[in-house]
C-alpha cells in the first residue's frame, strides 16, 4: 500500500458519520422539492430538452391558426380569439406526455435503484419529477400566449383572467401527467410509451372543442366531446380568459384533477414499487 493510499484511507475514516449523528431523513415535501431541484439541474445541464416546450408550441400555434383559421371561421382574425385558448390547452397537455417518456428513460437507470433504497417518502421521486416539469409547462405556456398575442389574441379577461387560466391549466397538466406516468411504468420502452400516449392523446384533443364548435358534430360524438376532460378544461379556460369565468366550470376541472390524481397517483406508486 502506498503512502497516498494510506492517506486516503485516513481521510475516508475521518469523514464517516457515526449513526447517532445522522439527521432525520427529509420529509415528504422536502424530498419532493429536492427531486424537483434535480429536474431543474437536468434542464440546466441539458437545455436542448427544452426544444419541445419552445419550438413545438410556436409551430402548433402558428400552424393551426393559419391552416384552419380561414376554413373554420372564415377569417384568421376571428378565429384567433377562439382558437388560442384551445391551442394553449392542447399544446400544454401534449407536452405533459414527455413527462412519462422522460420518466421511462430515467427509471431504467441505476440511480433510481439508489433513490428507492433511501428512507424517504417514495412518491417524492415521481412528485418531484412532475413538479420540475411545471417549469417546462410555464415556459411553454408563456410562449404560446406570447405568440398568440403577436397574432392578434386580445383576451377580454385581461391579465387577471389569463393568469387564473394559466394556473388552472398547470394544475390540470400536473394531474394529467400521472396518466403518462402509469403508462411509462407499464411499458418497457420509450417508443411503446410514446405510441400508447399518442393513441390516447389524439382522440382526446381532436374529439374536443379545441378546434371546432361541437354543434357541428354528429350528436353521438357531441356526447363524448362534452365529457372529454379536455373540453371541460378548454371551456373553463376560454371563460376565464374572456373574463366570464364560471365557478361551476372551474369546479368541474378541479373534480377531474382530483379524479386523475386520485386514480393514477396510487396506480403509479403501485407499479413504481413493483418495478424491478
Amino acid at each position: 500500500m502506498t503512502t497516498t493510499a494510506q492517506d486516503q484511507n485516513q481521510r475516508i475514516r475521518s469523514v464517516l458519520v457515526p449513526a447517532d449523528q445522522r439527521p432525520a431523513p427529509a420529509g415528504a415535501i422536502s424530498a419532493s422539492l429536492t427531486y424537483g431541484w434535480r429536474a431543474l439541474l437536468k434542464i440546466k445541464h441539458i437545455p436542448e430538452q427544452l426544444f419541445d416546450v419552445t419550438v413545438f408550441p410556436i409551430m402548433m400555434t402558428v400552424m393551426f391558426t393559419y391552416i384552419f383559421g380561414g376554413a373554420i371561421a372564415g377569417s384568421v382574425d376571428g378565429y384567433v380569439q377562439w382558437l388560442i385558448p384551445g391551442i394553449f390547452v392542447q399544446t400544454m397537455i401534449m407536452i405533459t406526455m414527455y413527462t412519462g417518456l422522460t420518466l421511462n428513460r430515467d427509471i431504467s437507470k441505476g440511480v433510481f435503484d439508489r433513490f428507492r433504497s433511501l428512507p424517504t417518502w417514495r412518491p417524492a421521486q415521481l412528485v418531484g419529477a412532475l413538479l420540475g416539469d411545471q417549469i417546462r409547462y410555464v415556459l411553454a405556456g408563456t410562449i404560446i400566449l406570447g405568440v398568440g398575442f403577436v397574432m392578434g389574441f386580445r383576451p377580454e379577461g385581461g391579465m387577471a383572467g389569463v393568469l387564473m387560466a394559466f394556473v388552472l391549466l398547470l394544475l390540470f397538466s400536473f394531474s394529467l401527467s400521472w396518466v403518462w406516468t402509469v403508462i411509462s411504468l407499464l411499458v418497457r420502452t420509450e417508443q411503446a410509451a410514446m405510441g400508447i400516449s399518442m393513441f390516447i392523446m389524439m382522440p382526446l384533443t381532436f374529439a374536443s372543442n379545441i378546434f371546432v364548435d361541437p354543434e357541428t358534430m354528429p350528436s353521438w360524438l357531441q356526447g363524448a366531446v362534452e365529457v372529454n376532460p379536455v373540453s371541460v378544461v378548454v371551456t373553463a379556460i376560454r371563460e376565464l380568459m374572456a373574463g366570464v369565468g364560471q365557478f361551476s366550470s372551474v369546479t368541474l376541472v378541479l373534480v377531474y384533477c382530483a379524479v386523475l390524481v386520485g386514480v393514477f397517483g396510487p396506480l403509479s406508486m403501485y407499479f413504481y414499487n413493483r418495478k424491478s
Binding site: M1, A5, Q8, N9, R11, I12, R13, S14, V15, L16, V17, P18, A19, R22, P23, A24, P25, A26, S30, A31, T34, Y35, W37, R38, L41, K42, H45, I46, K109, G110, V111, D113, R114, F115, R116, S117, L118, P119, T120, R188, R274, S276
Partner: protein, 329 residues
C-alpha cells in the same frame, strides 16, 4: 450479541417461469465483509435487490439488521446503503450535485449537504472533478463517487454489487482499500463478485451461488480446502531440464504435473499451497534455473467445476432477467 446483519430462510424470487433466486438461506453476522460469489445470472443482484427492499420476495423470510423486509422496509432503508452494479449516480449531474441531492434527501439542508458533499469528494480524491458531469468521469472515479454517495450518512450495512466490475486494476485496488477502511469504521459490507480472487482478498466469509442456490458457504480457507488451492505454474530456464523439474515437482508436491505445450512450462494442480515453497527449494537444490514460479488462484470456473461438477453456465446477466420479468408481467 447484536442481531445478525442478514438472515434469510428459503428466499425465492421468480421472473416468469425461472427462479432467479431459488431458496436461499443466509446467516450473516454484523461486522466484516461477506462475499457472494457467482457467475452472471446466478441470482446475486436479485438477492441483493430483495435485501435492499427494492424487490419483493415471492416466498421465504428475510430480516435485515433485525427488520423484516416485508413489513419494515423503511426501517431497513434507514440503515443501509446500496451501490448498484451499474453506477447508481445521475450521469447528467455533476459530482457535487449528486452528493448534494443525496445529502438533502437524507435530511441535510442545502448548505450542510454541500459541505458534506465537498468533504466526501475531498476524502475520495475527487475535489477537482466536483463540477464535472458524472458522464465525463472515468470508471474508477465513478465507483469512488458512487461509494461516497453511500457514505453521506454512514450506513450500518452496505451492499456493493460487483464494485470492481469494469474498472482498471489500479482503481480496483483503490476500491478494495476503501472497502477495508469502511469495515474498520464499523460498517458491515455485503459484496457480490464474479472473481474468487476478490472474494478471497476481502471477504471474511463467502457464499457461492449458482442458479439461485447457495452451493457452498464458509471462510475463504474452508472453500479453498474444498476446491484445492489452485495451480502452480513453473517455467524453467532451459527446456532440456523440464523432465528433471517435473520429476522433482511431482515428488515434492505429491501431485500430478502437467506438461504444457510450451516446452519449458509445467503446471501442478495443488491441494496445499504451503508446500509450494519447498518445491522451489528442491528445484534450487538441483540447480535448475527457474524463470517463472507463480502460484495462481483457481478460477471461478475451477471453483464451480469442483463444487458443482459442471462448468459455469454463462447465462444472461441479471439485468436481462429483469427484462424477462417485465415481459412476463
Amino acid at each position: 450479541m447484536t442481531v445478525p446483519a442478514i438472515e434469510t430462510r428459503g428466499l425465492v424470487k421468480r421472473f416468469g417461469n425461472t427462479a432467479a433466486v431459488d431458496g436461499i438461506d443466509l446467516q450473516i453476522a454484523q461486522g466484516g465483509i461477506y462475499g457472494v460469489l457467482g457467475p452472471n445470472g446466478a441470482g446475486k443482484t436479485t438477492a441483493i435487490r430483495m435485501l435492499a427492499t427494492l424487490l419483493r420476495p415471492d416466498a421465504g423470510e428475510a430480516r435485515v439488521l433485525g427488520h423484516d423486509v416485508f413489513t419494515e422496509p423503511k426501517a431497513i432503508r434507514e440503515k443501509i446503503a446500496l451501490t448498484g452494479q451499474f453506477a447508481s449516480l445521475d450521469e447528467d449531474l455533476t459530482g457535487i450535485e449528486n452528493l448534494m441531492l443525496l445529502g438533502r434527501l437524507l435530511g441535510y439542508n442545502s448548505r450542510e449537504a454541500k459541505v458534506r458533499g465537498m468533504t466526501l469528494l475531498d476524502a475520495f480524491g475527487l475535489t477537482d472533478a466536483a463540477g464535472r458531469q458524472v458522464k465525463k468521469y472515468s470508471g474508477g472515479m465513478r465507483r469512488r463517487l458512487d461509494i461516497a454517495g453511500s457514505l453521506i450518512v454512514t450506513p450500518q450495512l452496505m451492499f456493493l454489487d460487483e464494485p470492481t466490475t469494469g474498472i482498471d486494476p489500479r482503481s480496483r485496488n483503490q476500491v478494495w482499500d476503501i472497502i477495508r477502511t469502511l469495515v474498520e469504521g464499523g460498517t458491515t459490507i455485503l459484496l457480490t463478485t464474479q472473481h474468487l480472487e476478490e472474494a478471497d482478498q476481502l471477504a471474511d466469509r463467502i457464499a457461492v451461488i449458482d442458479t439461485g442456490k447457495v452451493i457452498a458457504e464458509g471462510t475463504p480457507g474452508q472453500l479453498k480446502a474444498q476446491v484445492g488451492t489452485g495451480a502452480l505454474k513453473v517455467r524453467v530456464a532451459e527446456a532440456t531440464r523440464r523432465e528433471e523439474a517435473a520429476e522433482i515437482l511431482g515428488r515434492t508436491l505429491l501431485a500430478e504435473v502437467i506438461r504444457e505445450s510450451d516446452p519449458a512450462a509445467l503446471t501442478v494442480r495443488l491441494e496445499d499451497e504451503s508446500r509450494a515453497a519447498s518445491a522451489l527449494i528442491a528445484l534450487q537444490d538441483s540447480a535448475i534455473a527457474v524463470e517463472t514460479f507463480a502460484l495462481g488462484q483457481p478460477s471461478l470456473d475451477e471453483v464451480f467445476l469442483a463444487l458443482t461438477g459442471h462448468k459455469t453456465v454463462h447465462e444472461a446477466p441479471d439485468g436481462e432477467t429483469a427484462d424477462a420479468q417485465e415481459e412476463a408481467a
